[in-house]
């Protein structure tokens, strides 16, 4: 039973001034937890709204289990949405909110009652049936929104930044709950978020979107470890970017020249020749004292700043090429023997150093990630 398979083919949405979604192709497997990740304005919400039926595509097809639903009105699609602000009907109590869809589907009274109560128990809200949405906390409202959508047993559940309005701690708890719930019910989830950590921890696969296009699709680990574009490298956690010139591959690694330094990069576009960017995650850079053994792939530098972030210390180092790199040193309880102005050297392991094509003229530079989260969690 292939229920909950979504295929987007050349899906495009143009508004008066902008193309919000630009010919995207995407396949989401049944039962998958799939995230659309990107900064605001990247087209992820518009994509979701087209799947839900709130926006009509300018072009392209939306196949739901093989049927094109692009021109089916929202109320006739077997998909349900959890809205960012929940959109619980304020004039109805919790039970009536959850029963709303069942009643529209003209289900018999006993079935409405039974399924609504069951859905509320699924989200651990049993006993709150007669509360008004305004009498619930943010987290509880979020659960009601979830129950209201799940009770209809949709093929696909669409979630539009459902945890965005909650505080950090509650968000973490609900992330885990949501993931568990999704495994339990086995419904395809399409989850829109701008929070890279959320997308990485919850998804089976995710698509990184930018400027109405999909930059990369893959499992969280693939996308994080092997970003294909500069944007992805930058958006998924903090990345150190350096200008360099690629000089082609030798022995399966790319020789790059950054300023006057020769480096070897073991991943990315290793066949590249010409202007390039080299990328390395802060948690993969190794901080050494100047006296340590000299060797390949090392850059001398000077500590500029130490930033204590709790689980780790961020060391900001200005290297000899003039660029500033971030090094993330896990907090092991020891005091780092560095301070502002200490001369150090950075070891950039070959397998952690990645070459990517430098963006062409006119192409958008990657934007800064909105939330600089504790990147050590992914290392």
């Amino acid at each position: 039973m292939a229920r909950g398979e979504i295929r987007l083919i050349g899906l495009t949405k143009r508004f008066a001034e902008v193309t919000a979604v630009d010919h995207i192709d995407l396949e989401v497997d049944p039962g998958e937890f799939f995230s659309l990740l990107g900064p605001s304005g990247c087209g992820k919400t518009t994509t979701l709204r087209m799947i839900a039926g709130f926006e009509q595509p300018s072009e392209g097809r939306i196949l739901l289990d093989g049927t094109d639903v692009a021109y089916t009105p929202a109320h006739k699609r077997n998909v349900n949405t959890v809205f960012q602000n929940y959109a619980l009907f304020p004039h109805l109590d919790v039970f009536d909110n959850v029963a709303f869809g069942l009643r529209r589907a003209k289900r018999p009274k006993s079935e409405v009652r039974q399924r609504a109560v069951q859905a509320l128990e699924l989200v651990q809200l049993g006993g709150l049936e007669r509360r008004k949405p305004s009498q619930l906390s943010g987290g509880q409202q979020q659960r009601v929104a979830l129950a209201r959508a799940l009770v209809l047993n949709p093929s696909v559940l669409l979630l539009d930044e459902p945890l965005g309005a909650l505080d950090a701690k509650l968000r973490k708890t609900l992330q885990i709950e949501l993931k568990t719930l999704q495994r339990e019910v086995g419904i395809t989830f399409i989850y829109v978020t701008h929070d890279q950590e959320e997308a990485l921890t919850m998804s089976d696969r995710l698509a990184v979107m930018n400027g109405g296009k999909i930059e990369q699709v893959g499992a969280p680990q693939d996308v994080y470890e092997d970003p294909e574009t500069l944007f992805v490298a930058d958006f998924l956690g903090v990345s150190n970017l350096m200008d360099a010139t690629a000089q082609g591959a030798r022995n399966g690694r790319c020789r790059v020249r950054a300023d006057t330094f020769e480096l070897a990069a073991g991943s990315g576009a290793i066949d590249l020749i010409g202007p390039a960017k080299i990328v390395i995650r802060p948690e993969r850079v190794e901080l050494e004292s100047r006296e340590a053994a000299a060797g390949p792939n090392r850059l001398p530098g000077m500590v500029e700043r130490l930033v204590y972030v709790g689980s780790a210390v961020q060391v900001i180092v200005r290297v000899a090429t003039g660029e500033v790199l971030q090094v993330l040193v896990p907090n092991s309880g020891k005091v780092l023997p560095y301070e502002q102005g200490t001369p150090v050297q950075l070891y950039l392991p070959v397998d952690a150093l990645r070459v990517l094509a430098a963006p062409q003229e006119g192409e958008a530079e990657p934007v800064e990630p909105q939330a600089v989260t504790d990147a050590s969690g992914h290392s």
């Binding site: 919400t45 929202a74 349900n80 602000n85 004039h91 869809g101 305004s134 209201r148 959508a149 209809l152």
Partner: protein
Amino acid sequence: MSSVAEAPVAPRPSAWRRFRGWLSNPWGRPRFLPLVTWGYVVWSIVPVLIAVQFSFNATRSRTTWQGFSTRWYWGDPVDSVWHDPTLRDALVQSLKLAVADVVIATPIGVLLAIGLARWHGRGSGSSNFLMLFPLVTPEIVMGVALLLVFTDLFTFVGTGTTAQILGHVTFSISFVVVIVRGRLFSIGRQYEEAAADLGASPTAALTRVLLPLLMPAIVASAAVVFAISLDDFVISQWLSKGGETDTVPVIIYSATRAAPLPSTNAIATIMMLLSLASVTIGFLVWRAFTRGERQAGQSVVRDMGTAPRVGDI
């Protein structure tokens, strides 16, 4: 501590300075604005109170107080509101127009508001602007225009009750549209989308979700329509056929010019209480309906405000 004790003590300010401080102290309660506010309240309410007082005068005088009586309401067998056919008919006519106005203008205005708020195409901007027209057009112009329309163009209407109702509906629809549209914008589209998402047809979304959410605005606008219809003089006068189609304001106007009796004050007081009652009821209903939203702390209200998410496309 010693250093604190040794700090120099500021000299006691002069009486004038202290008065200035009392009047405008940035840390204290505002004094000046309440003074202005209360001044205005007294200024505007005193004439009304005097008029009301003389409706209870025991004699025919409207200027000299000669004891309390209710003769101008129902006591006097000839000239009281209850017994004078002119006054009674006027009261009945005013109520008739007001009720008809509410019954006709409110539903049309609600539909117009929904239509205008949801219509984003060529001409939507000018239509929205046109809705404000009756609010800013001098009523006398509208009255004359309507009279010409009903006596020259649509002669089957003529003057009288039908014309008056049509006239009242014409200018009161704007009030309904403005009030309901404001509420529509603060509700946003998300509840309709949620309803559609849950399988509600457009009709079901309207009746099950949108109209209940609009209810406070609908009741409030009905109350406003009732009050302004009772209040209206110009259009009621222009479109009146005379006789029993004269409304209370028209009667008061002509009575005041002829030989005013305290019964005029009495009927004015009744009108005022009716307007006040309708607006109070409207306000109370609004409050009762939206209580949940305010209780939700900021969350629901804020969510409503930010509902159309233009930013994230």
